[in-house]
Amino acid sequence: MSHSVIVIGGGPAGLQAAATLGNFGFDVTLVEQHDYLGGAVAKHQYQVLMPDFSSGPALVERLVGSVKNNAHVKILTNTTVGTVEEVGDGYQVQLEGPKPQQMVAQAVVLATGFDHFDPTRDGKYGYGLFPDVITGAELEEMFAKGPIRRPSNGEVPQSVAFIYCVGSRDRQVGNTYCSRVCCAVSAKQSIEIREQLPKARISMFYMDVRTYGLWEDTLYWRSQEESGVVYVKGRIAEVTQKNGQPVLKGEDTLVRGPFEWPFDLVVLAAGMEPSQGTRTLSQKFHIDLEPHGFVQQAEPMKNASLTSRPGVFVAGSASGPKAIEDAIAEGDVASLAVMQYLKTKVVV
């Protein structure tokens, strides 16, 4: 008899897990709360992906195609998880949506993703107050919709500032961890801005540049050497507005001394937080969270997708900030763990 698996979350990790499990021959139900698949890539219409500058729409098309053309995968969009009960050989899950239903699954993969940090929670950046202060995700939407313009007056920005670590590495907002990808994503965005605006002055305000691993030269160095982007070391204490321009107030820690510099456009590299879905579902499935609120990986040295409960697996940024390519890899890691788990179970 065939085993039934629920994959919760239709972002890159969930899509990959659903497709792979379907290819293994499991009966997969993919549950997505929104009316679209593709997660953050689709939500913010990422056109060009970090780190390899590949196409976002092409990725979504491929991943969605791999589940839609899969006879073993049933896709339920606009659907959320209601009550969850542990039954004999798995979990009985109430699905709420256009087609409410109850089903029993022998294994569950949580691919509930992340939420971007909401910068209105940190008033010093003036987000929501000054129109020319936007988030990195909003910049991606700007790339998708048309040329880069100042939201306040529609003019071409002559100067652009990126503020790193917004909502990350900051006890004041409660997030003491690093969101890992924002440095590299900002570098990628600065390279894209340079392609559109050959003369714009682009400055990055950072505490550390954490373009780790292979992204050091391919993104960080490239943004400097080929795109003429300037990195200024120092966190921004306050964004104010003067003569219609956001003004960044900070301390330049490499030469010491405070500065107050105006910019036409300010991009906040807002970090990643456990999503609302991660928080809700971890309670429903009674799995442990690690201290930052992400899903606890029970045995990361054995398999990245194991949680504190047998039969419940995690993939993607539900267990911590990560890049799209890593989320996709974890979709496969979780599929393997599900397969090993179900093959060892005695099926009556």
Binding site: R201, Y220, V230, K233, V255
Partner: protein
């Protein structure tokens, strides 16, 4: 009384940050000296990025974009050991973030580079640091020539002039031009140089040097030294 002497922790401030009039009367009230002491703001608000454009556009300065401010250059610098104000990393940073005021304030030390190229050889990002510093120095020479020590300027100009004119550097001629630019021609006829001149006349080196002539096609090669090549 010395300027700013009424300020506690005076040693933390630089002279040009302090505004203090020796004699000042306002509305009939005498507020001379420390009564009118004011401090200029430390906040930097005017970025000037033109210097960066000029340096990166120059043949010897284009690698400035590679700098990641790791500090390897200053750590190994021969001059920085002796003159802490000579900090190649900081000069590069000032240019890149548009701190023209700091560059001009510290222009007098930038020409202290001895050209050992340890910075260039150490740089993990392949910044040709020694030549980038030279490029920044060239730019500062156009901005604040008065900040250049007369001996440095005479040396710099004599070198350039000798090379452009003859295509080679001849020590006697270089020394003669350098000293005459400083009005120190007399030293040419001091006992040491006189002795050296006699020796070189005797062993034929003086004649050889004068007869060696310019390198082949020097007029064409000279172009790289001209301002039009730099532009």
């Amino acid at each position: 009384m010395a300027k700013g002497s009424g300020i506690i922790e005076r040693s933390l401030l630089e002279d040009d940050q302090i505004m203090e009039e020796e004699n000042l009367v306002m509305d009939g009230i005498d507020i001379s000296g420390r009564w009118n002491t004011m401090l200029k703001t430390r906040v930097h608000s005017q970025r000037d990025l033109d210097s960066w454009d000029e340096v990166r556009a120059s043949a010897i300065g284009e690698s400035i974009d590679n700098c990641i401010q790791c500090g390897m250059c200053t750590a190994g610098c021969t001059v920085a050991q002796e003159i802490p104000a000579f900090n190649p990393r900081q000069f590069i940073y000032w240019v890149r973030v548009g701190r023209k005021d700091d560059l001009i304030k510290n222009a007098d030390v930038i020409w202290r580079c001895v050209g050992c190229y340890i910075c260039t050889n150490h740089c993990p990002k392949e910044v040709n640091t020694a030549e980038v510093i030279e490029s920044i120095g060239q730019w500062l020479r156009t901005q604040v020539p008065e900040k250049m020590d007369p001996a440095y300027r005479a040396n710099h100009e004599a070198y350039r002039h000798q090379l452009e004119t003859y295509g080679r550097l001849s020590l006697p001629r270089l020394q003669a031009e350098f000293l005459s630019k400083l009005g120190r021609q007399k030293e040419l006829f001091g006992p040491d140089l006189r002795q050296a001149a006699v020796k070189m006349l005797k062993d034929g080196r003086a004649i050889k040097t004068l007869l060696i002539g310019r390198p082949r096609h020097w007029n064409r090669s000279r172009f790289v030294l001209t301002d039009s090549a730099r532009a």
